[in-house]
């Protein structure tokens, strides 16, 4: 059975304190791994798609990387506006569904 596990469940950082969020996955055949950001009471906002091990994507202070077993979302010099829940999801062969982890709740304090 496909599984996605995110850690830590919650993370508190001071503004400017860089860190990484982890997404471990077990799938029979990976089509893609996706990162989303979700603000309270809103729908998830798409951030990145990663297709194969070794791939990296960047957007502003965020950088996503992928290995054969896990993905990391690195946050460099975070700001309070980066506070949100970050969700990881995998899409496995041969289906269309995204299998989501429970997310990491990030709080960045001034």
């Amino acid at each position: 059975e496909d599984q996605v596990t995110q850690s830590p469940e919650a993370l508190r950082l001071q503004e400017g304190e860089s860190s990484s969020l982890n997404c471990s996955y077990t799938v029979s055949g990976l089509r893609g791994l996706f990162w989303y950001r979700q603000d309270p009471g809103k729908g998830p906002e798409f951030l990145f798609t990663l297709y194969s091990a070794g791939e990296e994507k960047e957007k502003e202070r965020l950088k996503a990387t992928l290995t054969k077993k896990e993905s990391f979302l690195h946050i460099t010099a975070p700001k309070p506006e980066d506070s949100a829940t970050y969700l990881c999801a995998v899409q496995a062969l041969p289906g269309y569904a995204l299998n989501f982890g429970k997310g990491t709740s990030l709080l960045v304090t001034p």
Partner: protein, 113 residues
């Protein structure tokens, strides 16, 4: 650009009442459409997806149903709501074909009392 709409934004319904949530997408043709539920303390759970008009696949057996009467319209329904149906319902769309991102709507917060 593409946009996705959901309504209502919030809904409070008594147990045993019917349900109809609507989702529409603008700016794209023949999208794949999805209904997810997000319950407190749990990840997003896929309920239904559709790759075309009248084509519905169910991921989780339950008292909910879905329909796609038009290319860019997706409806989630129930004849009789249960307390366990409470949650945050999200509609998403994606382009057809393999490995495509899904883009989510604003969601509907459903509370069943």
């Amino acid at each position: 650009s593409q946009t996705i709409h959901q309504w209502p934004a919030t809904l409070v319904q008594p147990v045993g009442s019917p349900l109809s949530l609507e989702c529409t997408v603008e700016g794209t043709s023949n999208p794949n459409l999805y209904w997810y539920r997000q319950a407190a303390g749990r990840g997003l759970q896929l309920l239904f997806y559709s790759v075309g008009i009248g084509q519905i696949s169910s991921e989780v057996p339950q008292n909910l149903s879905a329909s796609r009467p038009q290319d860019r319209q997706f409806i989630l329904s129930s004849k009789k709501l249960l307390l366990s149906d409470s949650g945050f319902y999200l509609c998403a769309w994606g382009a057809g074909g393999p490995v495509r991102e899904q883009f989510f709507g604003p969601g509907t917060r459903l509370t069943v009392l």
